[in-house]
């Protein structure tokens, strides 16, 4: 029997990892979340194989020339597994590339919003006083408006400034997203900065920057990971909502919200044109559900207060 000898040093790590695995295995919801997200990652990663791109950029959904410009969506058929949208764009292609697009939006927004929130939150919590007041009142202003309404306004304004539609959507979601992270990090910073080890680091001659990024940040990062993963779905919903309102992705773009917007006119037909709104709807619902479940699973595993319950 093959037995790999593991150094004693790693025993606690392995034990911990096994505990995490058992924790995940015991909760079907976590498993479901991970499975759904993995499925979407797979679709996004292999989009060019699952649906070979024909136009440039590939996010533009190709039209079927054989069907011409017929207004009525065509039902699912072997050449169009999910049917077509109103202008004979392939719905299957839209959903597959829409997955990739959803990941792209969510990642870009999360990275930018977390980066801004992190820096401002750390500065705000660490220095306190007037700096804290200014930054926090600024977040208050943004948080005072309902997110979607503010996003709509921002997109409209950015349109007027001749911004690309897609960039405008991304920027506006980032702008409404960062205050949440800034608040979260500020709170965590306030908690950590009074710990003795921060004073000890200062007594060792560490500079402010070093204390903020090397000593405080690693102690606050878990909550950011959890909240960011829970937000992952929310960002896609917001982007889809903007598209649904006609403010987001342009016509023919592989964006789930845009596809539902295209199918909106056919909802009134009952189940007659069901594919035109059901398929993109299922993708959105599953995506958001998957990320929420994954976020919960992460919290169960990472949060020391929850995990042993």
């Amino acid at each position: 029997m093959l037995k790999i000898k593991i150094p004693e040093r790693f025993q606690p790590t392995i034990k911990e990892f096994k505990f995490v695995l058992r924790r995940v295995k015991d909760s079907p919801l976590s498993l479901a979340g991970i499975a759904i997200v993995m499925g979407f990652v797979f679709i996004a990663a292999f989009a060019p194989i699952l649906a070979p791109p024909q136009l440039d950029p590939p996010y533009l959904i190709p039209r079927d020339p054989a069907l011409g410009f017929k207004l009525e969506p065509m039902p699912p058929s072997p050449s169009h597994p999910f049917g077509t949208t109103q202008a004979q764009r392939d719905l299957y292609y839209g959903c597959i590339w829409g997955t990739r697009w959803a990941f792209q939006i969510a990642l870009e927004v999360i990275i930018c919003a977390v980066a801004i929130g992190l820096v401002l939150g750390l500065i705000s919590g660490y220095y306190g006083g007037i700096i804290d007041e200014v930054i926090m009142r600024f977040t208050d202003i943004i948080l005072a408006f309902p997110g979607l309404i503010l996003a709509i306004t921002l997109v409209t304004v950015l349109h007027e400034l001749n911004w690309q539609t897609i960039d405008a959507v991304l920027l506006s979601i980032i702008l409404i997203g960062w205050p949440g992270y800034a608040r979260l990090i500020r709170g965590e910073t306030l908690r950590v900065k009074n710990e003795d080890f921060i004073e000890a680091a200062r007594a060792c001659g560490a500079s402010d920057l070093r204390i903020m990024f090397r000593h405080i940040l690693p102690n606050t990062i878990y909550s950011i990971v959890i909240v960011a993963s829970l937000d992952f779905g929310g960002i896609v919903i917001t982007a889809a909502a903007l598209s649904f309102l006609g403010l987001g992705a342009p016509i023919g773009w592989a964006d789930w919200g845009r596809l539902i917007y295209d199918g909106m006119g056919f909802v009134s037909g009952g189940l007659r044109w069901w594919w035109s709104w059901v398929y993109p709807g299922i993708f959105i619902v599953l995506f958001v559900l998957g990320w929420s479940l994954l976020g919960d699973a992460l919290r169960d595993v990472l949060d020391p207060l929850y995990r042993r319950k």
Binding site: F197, A203, C204, S207, P218
Partner: protein, 388 residues
């Protein structure tokens, strides 16, 4: 009488410090004066809240708001020159901290960052204060290796050598900083890491930590209190500081562990010849460890003397009361009547007047100055300053 300047490392003169709280201004330090001589262990004793810790934090200038130093001088003698540390700016101070003056905190496990291993944390101080030395050691080692190496390896080592030499010449060199970010190239830093690790292990060994190779990879929660405190002391000793401030380092430890740490501190002090400011409220520890003692009460230094004198002939009524309240078998339990005055509205004159059995009129009018009552024996009390 003015002492010979070179004999003193730190001289705190008339230090005033306030905390601006919602309840009012807490006058935490009210003209604190004390001196620390080279090579001694100075004990600072007093009740909780009398300003012991705040004094030590002021020496390092890490008092956090709402605390603010309002006046006075902290004279720092180093390399034959005298500086007033309160005039130092923040970058200068951060070079002083850890390098010339370092500190050991009360609760060892709270003083270690839970997300880094012991080796990482001690290593950080090496990078902050002894980087040059480490780079030099690495360069020397590289030079030897380059001579014996052949072929591709020789080229790699040469490249590393050039990077390290550049780093030594200009620590902020852009090329080195870029190289540290490029994935495979940044491996050149591993040599430095290895050197730091070696030194950390050595340091831990001198502090009698068993199995230091294993301990460097451990995280704070895996250590016992005594071990963690040794690691904190190791962190403080990395740069061979001139002054080590120990803020009640044994208060939260078992008695046996406490004794071990005390023995260790005394040994280190003898071996390295460093100066220690030892803050405690345990008079037993003071008697055991210190050369001189400063007694503090409600933000004032009330008496400074060497240990024997202070325990045999305490002059200040507060010191007398403090010594009498040490519980002894067969002796009725005594304590100082009254409570420590509120530092928001301290009584006028001497802050001990309300509790003092010798209190006179002048004690309510005038603050007693610190006068020399005996040889090297300073006391702040009107009984000894010719008051009526």
């Amino acid at each position: 009488m003015e002492k010979v300047v070179s004999d003193e490392i730190i001289r705190v003169e008339d230090l005033y410090l306030n905390f601006y709280t919602y309840e009012g201004i807490v006058k935490a330090l009210d003209g604190v004066s004390l001196n620390i001589k080279r090579g001694e262990i100075l004990g600072v004793v007093g009740e909780t809240g009398c300003g012991k810790s705040v004094t030590s934090l002021s020496i390092l200038k890490i008092v956090v708001p709402p605390g603010k130093i309002e006046g006075g001088q902290i004279k720092f003698n180093v390399k034959g020159k005298t500086y007033n540390m309160l005039e130092f700016n923040e970058p200068t101070m951060s070079r002083v901290r850890g390098r010339y003056i370092s500190m050991v905190f009360q609760e060892p496990r709270a003083a270690l960052n839970p997300v880094y291993s012991i080796g990482d944390q001690i290593g950080e101080v090496f990078y902050l204060h002894r980087k040059e030395e480490i780079i030099k050691a690495v360069i020397e080692q590289l030079r030897k290796e380059v001579e014996t190496a052949k072929g591709f390896r020789k080229r790699v080592l040469r490249l590393y050598l050039s990077l390290y030499e550049r780093m030594l010449k200009n620590p902020k060199s852009l090329r080195v900083r870029l190289a540290s970010k490029i994935p495979i190239l940044r491996r050149f830093r591993n040599l430095m890491k290895k050197e730091v690790r070696k030194r950390t292990v050595e340091l831990l060994r001198t502090l009698r930590i068993p199995d230091p190779e294993r301990v460097v990879d451990m995280y704070p929660h895996e250590l016992s209190g005594g071990m963690a405190q040794r690691c904190v002391i190791a962190m403080a000793l990395v740069a061979n500081p001139i002054l080590l401030i120990a803020d009640e380092p044994t208060t939260n430890l078992d008695v046996t562990v406490q004794a071990q740490i005390l023995v260790l501190i005394r040994e280190l002090q003898k071996k390295l010849g460093s100066t220690i400011l030892y803050i405690t409220h345990d008079l037993g520890v003071v008697a055991e460890l210190c050369d001189r003692v400063a007694v503090m009460y409600a933000g004032n230094v009330v008496e400074i003397a060497d240990v024997m004198t202070l325990f045999k002939e305490p002059l200040h009524p507060y010191t007398q009361g403090l010594l009498e309240s040490i519980p002894r078998p067969g002796k009725p339990f005594t304590s100082i009547p009254g409570i420590v005055p509120s530092l928001i509205n301290p009584p006028p004159g001497c802050r001990f007047n309300e509790r003092c059995k010798y209190a006179m009129d002048i004690c309510w009018k005038q603050k007693p100055p610190l006068v020399e009552a005996g040889k090297e024996h300073y006391v702040a009390c009107h009984l000894y300053s010719g008051g009526k």
